[in-house]
């Protein structure tokens, strides 16, 4: 194969694996939200949701690795190895690749901390895992700005679908956080659910956030 064909092959490989990575990462984010909300994939056991979330994230990293290696190996543009993990260290498309590097950094951190989950404080793990909501948009912006692939045709619709899906899932996630009953109130809310005469009376309610008209469900108490 001559140099130009080699370069073209590498370039196509990088673009293709990039698209697949984005799709996989979108799936990972959606599944992550589903795990948190204790949702299920219809007809499938609960452990499939967590299992798929973990396995797809590992698969995504594999595809991102190929995406990065082929991009570096492609002689058509010069991308320093350091730019893969250090945001904005590239001379070529610094902003776009910087977003990609940032996204990759965060994804690697999420995976490493999740593999070592049992050995770290739960609160720290949760705080770091929230960074996923920074990693995914960075990956999208990187995809859209580093090449024109996602701006036409099927890939454009795919990109829009991914964005809508994540936006919807995120809204669902956040709406629950707003309705979630703090643990200090859970027993009182359960008592109110049992029978009207057992509920704490109006004189006992001092500035509680919950309006008495709200009908809490079991899901809110979790």
């Amino acid at each position: 194969m001559n140099g130009i064909t080699q370069s073209t092959a590498l370039w196509y490989a990088s673009r293709a694996t990039g698209v697949v990575s984005l799709l996989l990462l979108t799936g990972v984010v959606l599944l992550g939200i589903l795990v948190n909300r204790q949702g299920r994939l219809p007809g499938l056991p609960r452990f499939v949701v967590t299992g798929l979330h973990r396995n797809l994230s590992l698969l995504a990293v594999a595809f991102v690795a190929i995406h990065v290696v082929t991009a570096i190996a492609d002689p058509y543009v010069t991308i320093r190895v350091a730019a893969v993990v250090i945001p904005f260290a590239s001379a070529y498309q610094p902003l776009s690749l910087g977003l990609g590097a940032f996204s990759l950094d965060v994804v690697l951190a999420l995976i490493v901390t999740s593999l070592a989950r049992a050995r770290m404080s739960r609160r720290l793990w949760r705080a770091l895992h929230w960074l996923a909501y920074a990693a995914w948009p960075s990956a999208v912006l990187h995809s859209v700005s580093s090449s024109t692939d996602l701006r036409h045709g099927v890939l454009l619709y795919l990109a829009i679908a991914c964005c809508l899906a994540v936006a919807g899932a995120f809204a669902w996630r956040v709406s629950h956080a707003g309705r979630e009953i703090p643990r200090e109130e859970r027993a009182a809310v359960t008592l109110a659910m049992m029978s009207p005469r057992s509920a704490p009376g109006p004189e006992a309610r001092r500035g509680s956030r919950r309006a008495s008209a709200d009908r809490p469900t079991k899901a809110d108490i979790r």
Binding site: P182, E184, L191, M194, S198, P200, A204, S208, R209
Partner: protein
């Protein structure tokens, strides 16, 4: 919020027995010095003992000069914890002393039990005995991080801070003592909830292991003792184990503070030897239908059974109850035991920390079912539901709140079974459901109530 005054209510019945009540003058008959009561409370009245009086009566705390020397003395005395669990004191001290990495010592004065007044009274009247015990315990485990965890009462905390400052000025204390505020929650005095609160978090129990003597306050090995236990330590260190064992029984030696609630509404704190017959402490006549022993995590006893029992775990445990922190209630004959149990069960449900699914799901349901049983013509499934839920919550919380609540409820279903039968026919001992058992006026509602 306070549960009431820190000084006990006046009793309204005659003194007939050796138990020393705060509100009555001391028995003037000549007594053996070893068996003389009171030990923790002053001989006359309820006047707080200041440092000078304390020093003239007891002298400075008898430090041993090196860590660990107090422990065999406590082992010989067989002192057990007076906070409710009755765990051997020397074993806790040994466990923390062996941890050897910057231990913390906390005196637990957060009396979350609404029916108990003894810790408040002790702290108000004899704080220096408690503070002596705290210093001796700190010396025994080699700690200089010492705190006193006290329920939220501005006057009491101010008085304690002044006492600590006075001792510091007189250079009696080995380690400085920090007064730490406890939220007014039933569970605030639970060991791991205490450790959380002292670490700066809400006072909520934690999963064990690790126990607080391994990892407690900010991860350090923590020795937690009830304030009454510390007061006994201070006296045992001075007078020795034989003196301590001169009252009480061979297996359960020593004296203890009890909170006594009489059927006529009288409420008092008394110091008595373990093994004292319950009928010497409570008036158990036809005006009393039942006795509650051990507080709201304790158990009900029929009055006739209680009249044959003594204040000892040897007697009470086979009857399904236990000594606990010495709360004894004589429940009047003309009240509805089920309605009162339902009232307390509702309080206990609302005092759940809300961390553990079985607890915040089960306890409210049990309370609601009890409320149903306490009402006229109750749903016949209520008792069966209650028993199912009771079985579901036992042992499945991070602390013993569900277990204690279930014990309390189950004993009520047994002791008040006649009352339950009456309700099924639409009758009740007290349809007005007049309250008798003491409960705080308001309930916990948000995060701030736990900090």
């Amino acid at each position: 919020m306070t549960y009431g005054t820190t000084v006990p209510y006046p009793a309204q019945h005659p003194a007939q027995h050796p138990a020393r009540r705060l509100t009555q003058p001391a028995d003037s008959r000549p007594r053996d010095r070893d068996t003389e009561l009171p030990r923790l409370l002053p001989a006359h009245g309820a006047v707080p003992v200041d440092l000078r009086t304390h020093m003239s009566r007891y002298g400075a705390p008898p430090y041993f000069g090196q860590p660990g020397r107090l422990i065999p003395v406590l082992k010989a005395a067989q002192l057990t914890g007076r906070g409710g669990a009755a765990f051997p004191v020397h074993r806790k001290l040994t466990a923390v002393a062996e941890a050897a990495t910057r231990p913390v010592v906390i005196g637990n004065g957060a009396e979350g039990e609404p029916a108990s007044d003894k810790d408040k009274s002790l702290l108000w009247i004899s704080p220096h005995l408690v503070l002596d015990g705290l210093q001796l315990a700190a010396e025994a485990v080699g700690s200089n991080a010492v705190g006193l965890y006290v329920h939220r009462n501005a006057r009491l905390q101010e008085r304690l801070r002044a006492a600590v400052a006075e001792r510091a000025g007189a250079r009696i204390d080995l380690a400085p003592v920090e007064i730490i505020d406890a939220p007014p929650r039933f569970l605030a005095g639970e060991e791991s909830a205490l450790a959380s609160r002292v670490s700066g978090e809400p006072a909520m129990p934690r999963f064990k292991p690790p126990r607080v003597f391994e990892r407690g306050v900010v991860g350090r090995p923590t020795l937690v003792h009830n304030v009454e236990t510390l007061a006994h330590m201070a006296l045992i260190a001075r007078y020795g184990p034989h003196w301590f064992r001169a009252v009480g029984t061979a297996d359960e030696p020593g004296s203890m503070l009890c909170t006594l609630h009489q059927a006529d509404g009288g409420r008092d704190v008394a110091e008595t030897g373990l093994g004292t017959p319950l009928r010497n402490l409570l008036t158990l006549d036809e005006g009393t239908q039942a006795v509650l022993s051990g507080g709201y995590h304790g158990a009900w006893l029929a009055a006739a059974d209680a009249a044959r029992l003594t204040l000892s775990n040897a007697h009470l445990k086979p009857a399904g109850a236990f000594v606990g922190a010495g709360v004894l209630v004589a429940f009047p004959a003309n009240r509805c035991g089920i309605a009162e149990t339902a009232r307390v069960a509702r309080y206990l449900a609302l005092e759940s920390a809300g961390q553990c699914g079985p607890c915040f799901n089960g306890l409210p349901r049990i309370a609601a079912a009890l409320d149903e049983v306490a009402s006229p013509q109750p749903d016949p499934r209520a008792v069966a539901d209650m028993m199912r839920w009771a079985g579901l919550v036992e042992g499945r919380g991070a602390c013993h709140h569900p277990d204690g609540t279930v014990r309390f409820v189950r004993s009520a279903l047994h002791v008040f079974r006649e009352e339950i039968r009456l309700h099924q026919y639409g009758r009740c001992m007290d349809p007005a459901r007049r309250p008798f058992l003491p409960l705080p006026a308001d309930t916990a509602l948000d995060a701030a109530d736990w900090s």
